[in-house]
Amino acid sequence: MTRAGWTGTAIFAVLTLIALAVISRATYTADLSAFLPRTPTARERLLVDELRTGLASRVVMVAVEGGEAVQRAQVAAALARALRADPSFAAVSDGDTGGFEQTAAFLAAHRYLLSDAVTPGRFTVAGLHEAIGDTLALLTTPEGLAAKPLFTRDPTGETLHILEALGERSLPTVNGVWASRDGPRALLIAQTRAGGSDTDGQERACAALERAFAAAAGALPAATPPLTLRMSGPGVFAVMARRLIRDSVIRLSGLGSLLIAALLLAAYRSVPALLLTFVPVASGALAGIAAVALGFGTVHGITLGFGVTLIGEAVDYSIYLFIQSAESLGAPPPASTAGWRHSVWPTIRLGTLTSVCGFAALVPSGFQGLAQLGCYSIAGLIAAALVTRWLLPEWRPATLRTRDLTDPGTRLWRMLAMLRPARAALALIALAAALVLFGHRATLLSRELTDLSPIPQAEQQLDASLRADVGAPDARYLVVASAPDVDAALAAARAVADRLAPLVAEGVIRGFETPTRYLPDAATQRARQSSLPAPAELASRLKSALEGLPVSVVRLAPFVHDVEQARTASPVTPADFAGTPLGAALDALLENAGSAATAYVPVTAAGGGDLAPAALERLRAAVAAATPAARLLDLKAEADALYTHYLRQAVSLSLAGLAALCLALAVFLSPLRALRVVTPLALAVLTVAAALAAAGERLGILHIVGMLLTVAVGSNYALFFDRLAQRGHAGVARTLASLAIANLATVTGFGVLAFSSVPVLAALGRSVAPGALLAFLYSAWLARLEAPPASAAPRPLPAA
């Protein structure tokens, strides 16, 4: 190794250590929020906050299946007890009525402030007569059993009225726990403390759930079919997505590397050359992840997945080095290296440069995902190229010999030369592709954010079915009321609820949930207090009201006393709810961040699914008319709009990247040569897009990125063909062989990716693998390659 080699190695070692340190300290995430804007508008911020940490993001729906109903109920109840004691969970609801008496006692204590039946009319003589008559009628029914002990304190039935209003949403219970209406499941709903985007926190919560279930199920005799735990929710999805991406990346990059290694071993017939080939790849991946970690703070799982793709690209550089440098002809390595640096390196350098220009267009993207991909690729490619140029030749042992690929190269040359006359066929391919794309123009692009989700269809169906079971709003329509303090937020929620109630009556929406069902704002409570008469007045009204009823004023003395106490009590606050079963329900709908408070009013569409456009318009108008503090979020539509925006940006940035790449080529070569380099690449992209569209695939972000990558990788081939056209025959056969091997390596790396269960990785693989192959073929087809001279004819194979 030369002195320069030692210096280079030292710098490489230091940089590698730094990169490793950065990578080990970085945080990794896998939720969809990384695909959201970096600098959102106020509305987008609301959306992002909702998706990341909001109420809906923290819900875990849990189902116990298998066994007998009794066993499911026992396990669910034990699970709920364990989770209530677990600090990972803020609340757990399972339909357990054990807290019922506590709830009833709490509501009874505050009934005149919490009951919406408390109006001035209720306490007139006629109002009292009717209300007490109603309660007496209730006493004749089985339910009256619960009302009887309270009768003398609460003859107007306020406690039951509140319980009834709160219980409207309640689920059917079987053996004391919630059960699905149709399927044999016991259900509970848990709310994690960690936000939905805190994937580590969510993973801990999922693990706690699984442990608690194993303990609960293990305590019972074995059930048939065995009891199983099913979970769903945004946090569960994030954990699952991260696991899927991680597994997929590890498995596929391992498989891809193995296949490429086999290919290269066959090509080189040299293990040291094979090992050295992977040095630029690994360096590129390290540099890429470290650059993203430094630039963004958080590395998205998908970016790591993208690392796999670098194998396909960076491996090309060393292939060009080992196959094209002349050592295999017998010249000593130093001389061959110098020749390689002179003849081959400029082409690689130009290829890297143009690729970097292309990816640079992604970096300023407003979307984390795209920007990370751009940053990762640039750092990775530069690192790989530098290592190939400065270190590999130095590290190559003097004795290293790779197989001479001149003969297969010559055969390839002959075949390609035969293709050349049929060039006109390319025009037909281009035309056919353009027609297919035009025919599919309406369904060409994917428009839904969930298309990016790696969650399998079966899990998404489970989620939908659990949501239907528990009657949880699918959190698609959410009214968010923000205010400086809790009471103002409650007042805003009340204003919204007042406007929504008529929509429910009309059937425009099925229903809504509001924190004011549990806790009215202070003004409402004061209004209720003012409708309560003073003791003497109440007693005299009661005397008239009780005429004809089988009860006397004397018996109702506790009622008069309680009303007087309520009349002068201070308003109920969220603090009063702390520790009661209702506290969890209230917490879920009311968030107090100290300096600001937020009330949530989730709205359920009639039929449970999506709102018709007209209904959505009326809902929007109702919310707008209620209070300026409230906004209606259609989470799915907002997320999809964001995604469409994102996709449009990906398309325009990719086009900008393509333009930058063309410009770079035009500057370094000539406009005409640049055109010749770009034409086969554009044709390759066009063909792949048409093939994907014809196969019924909708093009998403990663397809677009894949096409940019196709152009970046393909530009190397095109540039080499361009160089061959400029320089005549010297080394044509070996160059062709190296290109073919490099192309096979790329196609293998991405081809493996195409089989991933993670849609984004599969999309990348499905667009780049065929794209790279076509870029090579089209470049060769269009290259001005003369037929090989007779002297270059393959030598006869030595006799065996």
């Binding site: 009525t97 007496l136 004749t140 089985p142 059993l145 409207e168 219970t173 018996r555």
Partner: protein, 194 residues
Amino acid sequence: MSAARAPRGAWALLLALAGPLAAAAGSDPLDALMQRLAARRHGHVTFNEVQYLAVLDRPLESSGELLFEAPDRLEKRILKPRHETLVLAHGVLSATRGQHTRSVDLAAWPQIAPLLESIRATLCGDRAALERIFSVQLEGDAARWTLRLVPRDPDAARAVSAVLITGAGADLTTVEILAADGDRSLLTIGPELP
């Protein structure tokens, strides 16, 4: 003497055999009653109910109709003092007043369960269900019988100390519920409606 002893032994043998034989033939009065009740698959009668509550000065009266379909649908239509319909079906109690219907799973309400299950299981002649919830005692004869049902579940017993059902033949006459706090209610069943 030995000849006189032999028939005595034969009597003992006969008695030992006759016990199970008699039971199988339906001579156990509770089984016999249950079989008679089970023969009726549906019914539609009027009722009148008087409830004596300590908190009230006068008893509460209500009336309406009872409908029964074997094995597990029981409907109580209260027409006075105001309309309310209670339906017990498949272990779920639904109460409808005006526009509102509420449903309660009886398993979650051990206090309420005996009030309804006593009538349903008796009408069905479902001895097993009755004995699962109550300790059952039968008095009287087929022409005039009284079932005395005492809840087994401690939660239920805290609310209801006993249910007394009287009847004549295959017809129920009264259902009296004695609450643990001393209150009681008496449901009198009227004639079958057409």
